[in-house]
């Protein structure tokens, strides 16, 4: 017969005091926090809970900062072992901070790092009382990561079970969020009409649930799909529904993707120079939030457009800017094959157009 001895810590902060403490923590430079932990109430569960909620809200506006903050919190809780909160709260906080770090890494295309964080998250959540909801959220992130690695069959196989988990827990927004993966998978397989149906369904259902974030994300994706199909009116209408809400929510990732969608529309309708300018604007938006993979992907798209305009030298410059980033990101095999061809052609100063298209096609479908 075994059992652990319970902890009896001092009375924690109220939830309001926890929020204020969390704001103070975020204003304190990372390096100064361990020494000021007691004054910052960094070991109080209300502070950590509020920090997790704040970081979750910032994932779409500042993924790089969230990654650093979440890693700090995880390390702080883990070593030396700190007995925070009651019962399973330490394990929950380890799981949650690792999930935040992993999700941020996924946005930043730091895939290997994301996977390690997701493993850490599972190790934490596994020991909590109400694990199914949190493990399902982790499952969503893992499937989203698989989608980015183009493992479409696996995503489509596992998605129904995940949706069912969310439904059985009555987590309706999360269940709806899973349908984004379905829509993105259809974009990947070039089934654009069906993808439009999915995103329209999401927008309608999100509206009835009162989730403007999900509705706006659905319209952001609709902008892109209609853009890919050269459907100007529909793409612009979708972007007009997405942009005001995304701006208000400071969802900078989705805003940059809307910009990408508009650039795609311009390209598809033959407006090459305006398309290049629009892609540049999207790059600036990705740069502001540290999404280097997307910047590199757009370098390749712009290179293709430049080639189309006979500007070979400029195109080579774009490719040269993208290659180190793409290489560093350790892309999937087909991406790496195209990358090798391109690297070789870049050395010979003659661009292998097919390799370029394969590589930026790989990126573009992923990032939509």
């Amino acid at each position: 017969m075994t059992g652990r001895v319970l902890r009896f810590p001092r009375r924690p902060l109220s939830s309001d005091a926890g929020r204020l403490a969390a704001e103070r923590v975020l204003k304190t430079p990372l390096a100064e926090r361990p020494a000021a932990a007691a004054a910052l109430r960094l070991e109080d569960p209300e502070t950590v809970l509020a920090l997790c909620a704040m970081l979750r809200q910032r994932l779409e506006s500042a993924p790089a900062a969230v990654r650093d903050e979440a890693e700090f919190l995880y390390r702080f809780l883990e070593t030396p072992r700190r007995e925070i909160g009651l019962f399973d709260e330490r394990e929950y906080f380890l799981g949650e901070t690792a999930l935040l770090a992993g999700t941020a890494c996924r946005h930043l295309s730091r895939r290997v790092e994301a996977q390690v964080w997701f493993d850490r998250s599972e190790a934490g959540f596994r020991h909590t009382v109400n694990a199914p909801g949190d493990l399902s959220r982790l499952g969503y992130q893992r499937l989203a990561e698989r989608l980015e690695e183009r493992q479409i069959d696996i995503v489509l196989e596992l998605l129904p079970a995940l949706i069912e988990s969310f439904r059985s827990l009555e987590m309706t927004e999360d269940a709806l969020k899973c349908r984004f993966l379905e829509g993105l998978a259809l974009m990947e397989t070039d089934e654009l009409e069906r993808a439009i149906e999915i995103f329209q369904d999401i927008a309608t259902e999100a509206g009835s649930l009162g989730s403007e974030r999900l509705a706006a994300s659905a319209y952001a994706n609709l902008t892109h799909v209609h853009g890919m199909m050269g459907e100007a009116e529909a793409a612009i209408a979708a972007s007009m529904k997405a942009i005001p809400v995304l701006r208000r929510l400071d969802d900078r990732i989705a805003l940059a993707k809307v910009q990408w969608g508009i650039a795609t529309l311009l390209r598809e309708t033959g407006q090459l120079q305006p398309a290049i300018e629009a892609y540049r604007k999207a790059q600036e938006e990705f740069e502001a939030i540290g999404m280097r993979a997307d910047i590199a992907a757009l370098n390749l798209v712009v290179a293709d457009l430049l080639l189309e305009q006979g500007q070979d030298r400029d195109a080579l410059r774009e490719i040269a800017a993208a290659l180190p980033v793409i290489s560093e990101l350790q892309m999937a095999p087909e991406g790496m094959a195209a990358l090798s061809l391109l690297r070789e052609s870049s050395r010979r100063q003659e661009i292998n157009r097919q390799a370029l298209r394969e590589l930026h096609g790989y990126f573009q479908e992923l990032r939509a």
Partner: protein, 115 residues
């Protein structure tokens, strides 16, 4: 009803079952049980604001509350026993069971009372 109020309300409605489990099943004293219940309330209020739990209806968190109460009761009694055998067979049997199983039984009882 606001979510924090829903959380308080569910806790209040479950409290008599929790108290009974702590005192009758796990043989905590009245004082020990009251201390446990204070901790459980704080914990439950935070549980309802966690990433996953916050998306779930409060009613679905009742089983987690009962499970935490049973884990608390069992751990506390084992700590009090300090490795010694339980004084009677009923306590021995409850300590030998998984707290989640006991919590499931309590949850079913509550569900039965409602229907």
């Amino acid at each position: 009803m606001r979510r924090p109020d829903e959380v308080e309300s569910l806790f209040s409605r479950t409290l008599s079952v929790i108290h009974s489990a702590l005192v009758s099943y796990y043989r905590l004293t009245e004082d020990e049980a009251r201390g446990a219940e204070e901790d459980l309330l704080l914990w439950f209020q935070r549980l309802a604001r966690r990433g996953g739990s916050a998306q779930m209806p409060v009613k679905l968190l009742r089983l987690s509350l009962l499970s935490a109460a049973c884990q608390y009761g069992r751990s506390f009694q084992l700590w009090k026993l300090g490795g010694a055998d339980p004084v009677d067979s009923d306590l021995g049997e409850i300590l030998a069971r998984e707290p989640d199983d006991v919590a499931n039984d309590l949850d079913r009882t509550l569900e039965g009372e409602r229907s």
